[in-house]
Protein backbone atom coordinates (compact mmCIF):
# COMPACT_ATOMS: atom_id res chain seq x y z
CA UNK A 1 0.00 0.00 0.00
CA UNK A 2 2.90 2.35 0.66
CA UNK A 3 3.90 2.14 -3.02
CA UNK A 4 0.42 3.36 -4.00
CA UNK A 5 1.02 6.54 -2.04
CA UNK A 6 4.67 6.93 -3.04
CA UNK A 7 4.03 6.55 -6.78
CA UNK A 8 1.18 9.04 -6.68
CA UNK A 9 3.40 11.46 -4.78
CA UNK A 10 5.98 11.06 -7.56
CA UNK A 11 3.31 11.96 -10.12
CA UNK A 12 2.23 14.99 -8.11
CA UNK A 13 5.69 16.53 -8.54
CA UNK A 14 4.68 17.26 -12.14
CA UNK A 15 1.38 18.84 -11.05
CA UNK A 16 1.91 22.36 -9.77
CA UNK A 17 -1.69 22.46 -8.52
CA UNK A 18 -1.17 19.47 -6.24
CA UNK A 19 -1.27 20.15 -2.51
CA UNK A 20 1.96 18.16 -2.11
CA UNK A 21 3.77 19.54 -5.16
CA UNK A 22 7.38 20.05 -4.14
CA UNK A 23 7.12 17.49 -1.34
CA UNK A 24 8.17 14.05 -2.63
CA UNK A 25 7.66 11.06 -0.34
CA UNK A 26 9.22 7.62 -0.68
CA UNK A 27 7.80 4.25 0.26
CA UNK A 28 9.94 4.44 3.40
CA UNK A 29 8.51 7.89 4.22
CA UNK A 30 5.01 6.46 3.94
CA UNK A 31 5.82 3.48 6.15
CA UNK A 32 7.36 5.67 8.83
CA UNK A 33 4.49 8.17 8.93
CA UNK A 34 2.10 7.97 11.87
CA UNK A 35 -1.06 5.90 11.97
CA UNK A 36 -4.48 7.50 11.59
CA UNK A 37 -6.51 4.30 11.64
CA UNK A 38 -4.41 1.11 11.66
CA UNK A 39 -3.22 -0.06 9.19
CA UNK A 40 -3.63 3.23 7.31
CA UNK A 41 -1.04 5.92 7.92
CA UNK A 42 -1.32 9.65 7.41
CA UNK A 43 0.51 9.55 4.06
CA UNK A 44 -2.10 7.00 2.90
CA UNK A 45 -4.94 9.42 3.73
CA UNK A 46 -6.19 12.43 1.80
CA UNK A 47 -5.59 16.04 2.68
CA UNK A 48 -8.81 18.09 2.41
CA UNK A 49 -8.58 21.13 0.13
CA UNK A 50 -10.80 23.45 -1.86
CA UNK A 51 -11.46 22.95 -5.53
CA UNK A 52 -13.98 22.55 -8.31
CA UNK A 53 -14.19 20.54 -11.50
CA UNK A 54 -16.03 20.99 -14.77
CA UNK A 55 -15.84 19.76 -18.34
CA UNK A 56 -17.68 20.43 -21.58
CA UNK A 57 -19.77 17.58 -22.95
CA UNK A 58 -20.99 17.76 -26.52
CA UNK A 59 -21.92 15.61 -29.49
CA UNK A 60 -19.15 13.61 -31.12
CA UNK A 61 -19.51 15.40 -34.46
CA UNK A 62 -19.19 18.81 -32.83
CA UNK A 63 -16.25 17.70 -30.63
CA UNK A 64 -14.11 17.24 -33.75
CA UNK A 65 -14.04 20.98 -34.37
CA UNK A 66 -12.82 21.82 -30.86
CA UNK A 67 -9.20 22.90 -30.39
CA UNK A 68 -8.17 19.78 -28.47
CA UNK A 69 -8.24 16.11 -29.27
CA UNK A 70 -11.77 14.89 -28.40
CA UNK A 71 -12.27 12.44 -25.55
CA UNK A 72 -15.04 9.91 -26.13
CA UNK A 73 -17.09 8.31 -23.38
CA UNK A 74 -17.18 4.66 -24.49
CA UNK A 75 -18.86 3.08 -21.51
CA UNK A 76 -20.12 3.88 -18.05
CA UNK A 77 -21.51 2.00 -15.09
CA UNK A 78 -22.81 2.90 -11.69
CA UNK A 79 -23.53 0.95 -8.55
CA UNK A 80 -23.87 1.78 -4.89
CA UNK A 81 -23.71 -0.14 -1.66
CA UNK A 82 -24.89 0.44 1.88
CA UNK A 83 -24.37 3.80 3.51
CA UNK A 84 -22.80 1.95 6.45
CA UNK A 85 -19.84 -0.17 5.40
CA UNK A 86 -20.53 -2.64 8.21
CA UNK A 87 -23.82 -3.51 6.51
CA UNK A 88 -22.29 -4.70 3.24
CA UNK A 89 -22.29 -8.40 2.42
CA UNK A 90 -18.51 -8.52 2.11
CA UNK A 91 -16.42 -5.66 3.42
CA UNK A 92 -13.60 -6.50 0.99
CA UNK A 93 -15.75 -6.24 -2.15
CA UNK A 94 -16.83 -2.81 -3.38
CA UNK A 95 -19.61 -1.72 -5.76
CA UNK A 96 -16.83 -1.29 -8.36
CA UNK A 97 -17.20 -4.99 -9.15
CA UNK A 98 -20.62 -4.27 -10.65
CA UNK A 99 -20.07 -0.75 -11.99
CA UNK A 100 -16.81 -1.65 -13.75
CA UNK A 101 -18.36 -4.73 -15.36
CA UNK A 102 -21.20 -2.58 -16.70
CA UNK A 103 -18.79 0.05 -18.05
CA UNK A 104 -16.59 -2.56 -19.75
CA UNK A 105 -19.60 -4.30 -21.25
CA UNK A 106 -20.91 -1.06 -22.72
CA UNK A 107 -17.51 -0.09 -24.11
CA UNK A 108 -16.59 -3.40 -25.64
CA UNK A 109 -13.20 -3.23 -23.95
CA UNK A 110 -11.79 -5.02 -20.91
CA UNK A 111 -9.27 -4.32 -18.16
CA UNK A 112 -6.41 -5.65 -20.33
CA UNK A 113 -7.11 -3.01 -22.97
CA UNK A 114 -6.72 -0.04 -20.62
CA UNK A 115 -3.49 1.97 -20.85
CA UNK A 116 -3.80 3.97 -17.67
CA UNK A 117 -6.30 4.61 -14.88
CA UNK A 118 -7.60 7.41 -12.69
CA UNK A 119 -9.14 5.85 -9.58
CA UNK A 120 -10.82 7.39 -6.58
CA UNK A 121 -8.30 7.37 -3.76
CA UNK A 122 -9.46 8.78 -0.45
CA UNK A 123 -7.12 6.15 1.02
CA UNK A 124 -4.55 3.86 -0.60
CA UNK A 125 -6.69 0.80 0.06
CA UNK A 126 -9.44 2.09 -2.22
CA UNK A 127 -7.10 2.19 -5.23
CA UNK A 128 -6.11 -1.37 -4.40
CA UNK A 129 -9.62 -2.81 -4.13
CA UNK A 130 -10.71 -0.87 -7.22
CA UNK A 131 -7.93 -2.51 -9.25
CA UNK A 132 -9.04 -5.88 -7.90
CA UNK A 133 -12.79 -5.45 -8.24
CA UNK A 134 -12.53 -3.93 -11.75
CA UNK A 135 -10.63 -7.02 -12.86
CA UNK A 136 -7.11 -5.64 -13.35
CA UNK A 137 -5.69 -7.81 -10.57
CA UNK A 138 -6.81 -11.05 -8.94
CA UNK A 139 -8.31 -10.64 -5.49
CA UNK A 140 -5.51 -10.53 -2.94
CA UNK A 141 -2.77 -10.01 -5.55
CA UNK A 142 -2.54 -6.25 -5.28
CA UNK A 143 0.73 -6.34 -3.33
CA UNK A 144 2.69 -8.27 -5.98
CA UNK A 145 1.07 -6.10 -8.68
CA UNK A 146 2.35 -2.87 -7.17
CA UNK A 147 5.77 -4.37 -6.48
CA UNK A 148 6.15 -5.44 -10.11
CA UNK A 149 4.39 -2.57 -11.93
CA UNK A 150 5.57 1.00 -12.41
CA UNK A 151 2.36 2.98 -11.86
CA UNK A 152 3.99 6.40 -12.20
CA UNK A 153 3.18 8.50 -15.26
CA UNK A 154 6.39 7.15 -16.82
CA UNK A 155 5.48 3.53 -16.14
CA UNK A 156 3.84 0.59 -17.88
CA UNK A 157 0.46 1.21 -16.24
CA UNK A 158 0.14 4.74 -14.89
CA UNK A 159 -2.39 5.26 -12.08
CA UNK A 160 -3.56 8.65 -10.78
CA UNK A 161 -1.20 10.54 -13.01
CA UNK A 162 -1.72 13.93 -11.35
CA UNK A 163 -1.01 12.56 -7.89
CA UNK A 164 -4.63 11.67 -7.23
CA UNK A 165 -6.38 12.99 -4.19
CA UNK A 166 -3.74 11.49 -1.92
CA UNK A 167 -1.14 13.92 -3.19
CA UNK A 168 -3.32 16.48 -4.99
CA UNK A 169 -5.82 17.03 -2.19
CA UNK A 170 -9.46 16.09 -1.78
CA UNK A 171 -11.62 19.00 -2.98
CA UNK A 172 -14.87 18.05 -1.26
CA UNK A 173 -17.62 17.01 -3.65
CA UNK A 174 -15.32 17.62 -6.62
CA UNK A 175 -13.16 14.78 -5.32
CA UNK A 176 -14.56 12.14 -7.63
CA UNK A 177 -14.90 14.32 -10.70
CA UNK A 178 -11.30 15.47 -10.59
CA UNK A 179 -10.32 11.97 -11.72
CA UNK A 180 -12.47 12.40 -14.83
CA UNK A 181 -10.72 15.70 -15.53
CA UNK A 182 -7.24 14.17 -15.32
CA UNK A 183 -8.24 11.21 -17.49
CA UNK A 184 -9.64 13.55 -20.14
CA UNK A 185 -6.61 15.84 -19.89
CA UNK A 186 -4.23 12.94 -20.53
CA UNK A 187 -6.23 11.69 -23.53
CA UNK A 188 -6.25 15.21 -24.98
CA UNK A 189 -2.46 15.20 -24.64
CA UNK A 190 -2.51 18.08 -22.20
CA UNK A 191 -0.69 16.24 -19.40
CA UNK A 192 2.37 18.49 -19.58
CA UNK A 193 5.34 17.12 -17.65
CA UNK A 194 3.30 14.15 -16.50
CA UNK A 195 1.89 13.19 -19.92
CA UNK A 196 1.58 9.41 -20.30
CA UNK A 197 3.01 7.79 -23.43
CA UNK A 198 -0.04 5.69 -24.32
CA UNK A 199 -3.13 7.84 -23.98
CA UNK A 200 -5.97 6.28 -25.95
CA UNK A 201 -7.85 4.20 -23.37
CA UNK A 202 -8.34 5.12 -19.72
CA UNK A 203 -10.58 3.87 -16.96
CA UNK A 204 -11.88 6.31 -14.39
CA UNK A 205 -13.57 5.57 -11.10
CA UNK A 206 -14.97 8.56 -9.29
Amino acid sequence: MAIVAANQRFNAQENENAVFHGQPASKEDVLSSRYINYPLRILESVMPCDGAAALIMTRADRAKSFPHRPVYLLGAGMEQSNANIWQTDRITTTPVKTSAARAFQMSGYGPGDMQFAEFYDCYTILVAVTLEDAGFVEKGEIGPFYESTDTTYKGSFPINTDGGQLSGGQPGLAGGFRHVIEGARQIMGRGGGRQVALNDLCMVNG
Binding site: R34, Y35, I36, N37, Y38, P39, L40, N84, W86, Q87, I91
Partner: protein, 138 residues
Protein backbone atom coordinates in the same frame (compact mmCIF):
# COMPACT_ATOMS: atom_id res chain seq x y z
CA UNK B 1 -19.65 4.13 36.73
CA UNK B 2 -17.83 7.10 35.30
CA UNK B 3 -19.03 10.18 37.10
CA UNK B 4 -17.58 12.69 34.68
CA UNK B 5 -18.25 11.48 31.18
CA UNK B 6 -17.55 14.44 28.90
CA UNK B 7 -17.66 12.71 25.52
CA UNK B 8 -20.53 12.86 23.05
CA UNK B 9 -23.44 10.54 23.77
CA UNK B 10 -25.60 8.75 21.19
CA UNK B 11 -28.17 11.03 19.60
CA UNK B 12 -31.21 8.97 18.72
CA UNK B 13 -32.32 9.99 15.24
CA UNK B 14 -35.44 7.82 15.41
CA UNK B 15 -36.15 7.37 19.08
CA UNK B 16 -39.42 5.52 18.58
CA UNK B 17 -37.56 2.81 16.69
CA UNK B 18 -34.31 2.58 18.62
CA UNK B 19 -35.32 3.29 22.23
CA UNK B 20 -35.84 -0.41 23.16
CA UNK B 21 -32.16 -1.12 22.30
CA UNK B 22 -30.90 1.56 24.69
CA UNK B 23 -33.39 0.68 27.42
CA UNK B 24 -32.26 -2.95 27.25
CA UNK B 25 -28.59 -1.94 27.34
CA UNK B 26 -29.28 0.01 30.51
CA UNK B 27 -30.65 -3.23 32.00
CA UNK B 28 -27.46 -4.94 30.73
CA UNK B 29 -29.35 -6.89 28.12
CA UNK B 30 -28.58 -7.05 24.41
CA UNK B 31 -31.62 -7.14 22.15
CA UNK B 32 -31.99 -7.14 18.38
CA UNK B 33 -34.88 -6.38 16.06
CA UNK B 34 -36.35 -9.41 14.28
CA UNK B 35 -38.88 -9.57 11.49
CA UNK B 36 -42.10 -11.41 12.35
CA UNK B 37 -42.77 -11.95 8.66
CA UNK B 38 -39.48 -13.49 7.41
CA UNK B 39 -37.65 -14.13 10.75
CA UNK B 40 -34.67 -12.00 9.61
CA UNK B 41 -32.76 -10.55 12.55
CA UNK B 42 -31.12 -7.23 11.72
CA UNK B 43 -29.21 -4.25 13.06
CA UNK B 44 -29.37 -1.21 13.10
CA UNK B 45 -33.00 -0.81 14.25
CA UNK B 46 -35.35 0.58 11.62
CA UNK B 47 -39.01 0.75 10.81
CA UNK B 48 -39.00 -1.96 8.16
CA UNK B 49 -37.18 -5.26 7.79
CA UNK B 50 -34.32 -4.69 5.30
CA UNK B 51 -34.93 -8.14 3.85
CA UNK B 52 -38.69 -8.20 3.13
CA UNK B 53 -39.74 -4.61 4.01
CA UNK B 54 -42.33 -5.77 6.49
CA UNK B 55 -42.99 -3.33 9.33
CA UNK B 56 -44.10 -6.18 11.57
CA UNK B 57 -41.04 -6.54 13.80
CA UNK B 58 -40.24 -7.47 17.39
CA UNK B 59 -37.31 -7.19 19.81
CA UNK B 60 -35.62 -10.39 20.96
CA UNK B 61 -32.78 -11.03 23.42
CA UNK B 62 -29.53 -12.40 21.96
CA UNK B 63 -26.58 -14.23 23.49
CA UNK B 64 -24.16 -11.30 23.42
CA UNK B 65 -21.56 -13.60 21.91
CA UNK B 66 -20.00 -13.17 18.51
CA UNK B 67 -16.80 -12.84 16.50
CA UNK B 68 -14.68 -9.99 15.19
CA UNK B 69 -15.69 -9.43 11.56
CA UNK B 70 -13.31 -6.51 11.01
CA UNK B 71 -11.50 -3.89 13.04
CA UNK B 72 -9.21 -0.91 13.03
CA UNK B 73 -7.12 0.77 15.69
CA UNK B 74 -8.07 4.42 15.97
CA UNK B 75 -5.09 6.69 16.56
CA UNK B 76 -6.73 9.93 15.45
CA UNK B 77 -10.48 9.95 16.20
CA UNK B 78 -12.76 11.96 13.91
CA UNK B 79 -14.12 13.54 17.09
CA UNK B 80 -11.38 14.99 19.25
CA UNK B 81 -13.35 14.28 22.42
CA UNK B 82 -12.17 10.69 22.10
CA UNK B 83 -8.48 11.55 21.61
CA UNK B 84 -7.60 10.81 25.22
CA UNK B 85 -8.69 7.20 24.72
CA UNK B 86 -6.58 6.66 21.58
CA UNK B 87 -5.28 4.29 20.48
CA UNK B 88 -8.44 2.22 20.87
CA UNK B 89 -10.06 -0.60 18.94
CA UNK B 90 -13.07 0.04 16.73
CA UNK B 91 -14.54 -3.28 15.66
CA UNK B 92 -17.40 -4.71 13.69
CA UNK B 93 -18.69 -7.70 15.62
CA UNK B 94 -20.83 -10.34 13.97
CA UNK B 95 -23.17 -11.78 16.57
CA UNK B 96 -23.68 -15.53 16.67
CA UNK B 97 -27.30 -14.79 15.75
CA UNK B 98 -26.17 -13.08 12.53
CA UNK B 99 -26.40 -9.27 12.72
CA UNK B 100 -23.28 -7.13 12.76
CA UNK B 101 -22.78 -4.29 15.22
CA UNK B 102 -20.14 -1.53 15.24
CA UNK B 103 -18.52 -1.31 18.65
CA UNK B 104 -15.34 -0.97 20.67
CA UNK B 105 -13.26 -3.83 22.01
CA UNK B 106 -12.28 -3.46 25.65
CA UNK B 107 -9.79 -5.44 27.72
CA UNK B 108 -7.79 -6.21 24.58
CA UNK B 109 -4.29 -5.16 23.51
CA UNK B 110 -4.32 -3.11 20.31
CA UNK B 111 -2.02 -5.66 18.65
CA UNK B 112 -3.98 -8.57 20.09
CA UNK B 113 -7.02 -8.48 17.82
CA UNK B 114 -7.58 -11.22 15.26
CA UNK B 115 -10.32 -11.64 12.72
CA UNK B 116 -12.93 -14.20 13.82
CA UNK B 117 -11.75 -13.83 17.42
CA UNK B 118 -14.59 -14.80 19.83
CA UNK B 119 -15.93 -11.87 21.83
CA UNK B 120 -18.73 -11.21 24.29
CA UNK B 121 -20.77 -8.16 25.17
CA UNK B 122 -19.78 -5.69 27.88
CA UNK B 123 -22.14 -3.00 29.12
CA UNK B 124 -20.40 0.32 29.72
CA UNK B 125 -22.52 2.53 32.01
CA UNK B 126 -21.04 5.85 30.94
CA UNK B 127 -23.71 7.99 32.65
CA UNK B 128 -26.72 7.42 34.88
CA UNK B 129 -28.91 7.38 31.78
CA UNK B 130 -26.76 5.92 29.03
CA UNK B 131 -25.14 2.52 28.72
CA UNK B 132 -22.96 1.78 25.69
CA UNK B 133 -22.72 -1.70 24.18
CA UNK B 134 -19.11 -2.80 23.83
CA UNK B 135 -17.32 -6.13 23.60
CA UNK B 136 -14.29 -7.92 25.03
CA UNK B 137 -12.43 -11.14 24.17
CA UNK B 138 -14.48 -14.16 25.24
Amino acid sequence: MTTEYNKPLPRLVNEAVSRPFWDAAKRHELVMPRCLNCSNMFFYPREQCPNCYSDNTEWVPVSGKGRVYSYTVVYQPANRAFQEEAPYIYAIVQLNEGPRIPTNLLECEIDGVELEMPVEVVFDDVTDDVTLVKFKPA
